[in-house]
């Protein structure tokens, strides 16, 4: 079940929330929308789910236009809106049954699919409670359960882990990962680890525009800057100039400096050329000088750095 978004634009009054964005999502992909708050992630999702209508451009789900075939598109989609709205005065089973009826699950399958969701989402202990009495983690599971009650081919989850504690986050991520295997899944988040942990592909959205699109790894490759290596040496009253000269002479190292001297430990920072691993050369050089190396650590540009780079100028 593919999603094709072409030249999508949405205005709220005078302000453009989404500006002329286009992308394709293929069947079976887990795609993360990453962006700061107010970047246009939710607005884009609301247009995919037919809640909002674009000012221009269009969205097609499996070739069906979201406006012309609104009802058919909705049948294919399971949606967890932002803030996970629920009917707090209903109990879990009644609510899931209601959701199943609204999703046109055939009458004879309703009990089965409700039970199935209770099992998958681990709601067995709370199934007879009112939703208003549940903890946030359980509410989130109820929200996921209602989104998947009709076994949709596309799942759209708007910030599925916001407001959860770390244990619950890991649990929900595991659930998403499990479900994502058979489905096309789009989730939004402003948490970077989430994308790294769950998604095959990332769309970084800022100010209503897509500023980066690719797998987490390919984005790291693309935006990789200089490699920085931290070297820690034992200070045996060695000749520092000699060391610096030796380190600087290593191939691919452009610059080296002493960061600090800490008792009998010297910290050196060396920056290497883009995309080159210089650790081995450094190690051999240090050993050949008969010095003792205490630490060697290479830092690469993380997704976090990329995210900051792309979204800081607001």
């Amino acid at each position: 079940m593919s999603i094709r978004v072409s030249n999508l634009t949405k205005y709220y009054g005078q302000q453009a929330a989404v500006k002329d964005i286009s992308f394709n999502i293929n069947t079976g992909e887990i795609v993360g929308f990453l962006g700061p708050n107010g970047a246009g992630k939710s607005t884009t999702m609301k247009m995919i789910t037919t809640y909002l209508t674009p000012n221009s451009g269009k969205v097609e789900v499996n070739g069906m236009d979201t406006e012309e075939n609104s009802i058919e598109v909705r049948k294919k989609i399971g949606y967890l809106p932002e803030q996970n709205p629920l009917y707090l005065d209903m109990n879990v089973l009644d609510y899931l049954e209601y959701a199943a009826q609204l999703e046109s699950v055939p009458k004879e399958n309703i009990n089965k699919s409700v039970k199935n969701m209770v099992d998958i989402c681990g709601l067995g202990d709370v199934q007879h409670k009112d939703i208003g009495e549940l903890s946030k983690g359980f509410k989130q599971r109820v929200g996921l359960a209602q989104a998947m009650i009709h076994d949709p081919e596309v799942l759209i989850l708007d910030e599925p882990t916001s407001g959860l504690d770390p244990n619950q986050i890991i649990e929900i991520r595991r659930l998403i990962k499990k479900l994502g295997k058979q489905k096309t899944l789009v989730l939004s988040t402003h948490i970077l680890q989430e994308v790294e942990a769950t998604c095959d592909r990332v769309l970084i959205i800022n100010n209503g525009e897509i500023v980066a699109d690719g797998t987490p790894d390919s984005l790291q490759d693309k935006f990789r800057g200089q490699v920085q290596v931290n070297i820690v040496l034992k200070n045996d009253s060695v000749d520092k100039e000699l060391i610096m000269k030796a380190v600087s002479s290593i191939k691919n190292i452009e610059k080296a400096r002493i960061l600090k001297e800490d008792g009998n430990v010297i910290h050196i920072i060396a920056s290497g050329a883009k995309g080159e691993d210089v650790r081995e050369d450094i190690f051999r050089k240090i050993v050949s000088l008969n010095l003792i190396m205490l630490g060697l650590h290479q830092e690469e540009t993380s997704l976090e750095d990329i995210f900051r780079q792309l979204t800081k100028n607001k």
Partner: protein, 235 residues
């Protein structure tokens, strides 16, 4: 149709899951009961007239109270987004909610049949005008509810929804009370728009199509307006 019934059942059940339904019915019966017994024991006349005269006034407050939450609550809690992205039409949602509120007022009216039955033991009753009055009251509450639902779809604040629907309903109800201040050409138009004028005809036992068409078209117009109001999120 199936979806409409799903919405209807859920809405009706949520009235009875909360205190709303019970409070509305009990207070309704206390007020109508007082008017019923006082007329019966003080004047000693076998009539439902006093009850039927007071119910339109009670509805002025009660129907906005029943209908104020229909959309305002869903908007406030965000569940409206869930509802509107399910594979059901806006019409199913609006009409389902309308019928559930109508069923609740219908149930309240059903309890007043006790008065009719007890009267029938005491003397002869005018069955024609009683049946007419019930049909008239149902149609009247229908137009009140459609206005209330429309008002509820305009805001996420239930109090504001109550006030808006009360003002519209009160205005339409009072129109034929101010006619003497107006020129006759204007008066006949305003009289036709007035809710109470049409009820007066039906309550006498005259089922005129003009009156029925007035109520049905009023309900239709406000249900349509509610649909537009729901769609306005897309503009």
């Amino acid at each position: 149709m199936k979806n409409l019934l799903t919405i209807f059942r859920k809405e009706l059940r949520s009235y009875f899951n909360s205190p709303v339904a019970y409070i509305v019915i009990v207070v309704f019966l206390i007020i109508t009961g007082w008017f019923f017994t006082s007329s019966l024991f003080i004047t000693g006349v076998v009539t439902m007239r006093n009850v039927f005269d007071i119910i339109p006034f009670i509805f002025l407050f009660f129907v906005p109270a029943i209908s104020m939450r229909t959309f305002a609550e869903e908007k406030k809690s965000g569940t409206i987004e869930l509802l509107l992205t399910k594979p059901i039409t806006d019409t199913d949602i609006v009409v389902g909610k309308f019928l559930a509120a109508l069923a609740l007022t219908g149930i309240a009216l059903l309890f007043t049949l006790i008065y009719v039955i007890s009267l029938s033991f005491l003397g002869s009753i005018d069955l024609g005008s009683i049946i007419g009055s019930y049909i008239g009251l149902l149609l009247m509450s229908g137009i009140y509810i459609s206005i209330g639902i429309f008002a509820s779809s305009l805001t996420e604040n239930q109090v504001i929804a109550f006030i808006i629907s009360f003002l519209i309903v009160f205005g339409l109800f009072m129109l034929n009370k101010v006619l003497i201040f107006l020129p006759t050409s204007l008066a006949s138009i305003l009289e036709y728009i007035s809710i109470d004028y049409h009820f007066g005809n039906i309550a006498r036992g005259i089922l005129d199509t003009r009156n029925i068409i007035y109520y049905l078209s009023g309900i239709f117009i406000f249900i349509l307006l509610t649909r537009f109001s729901l769609e306005s999120r897309k503009w």
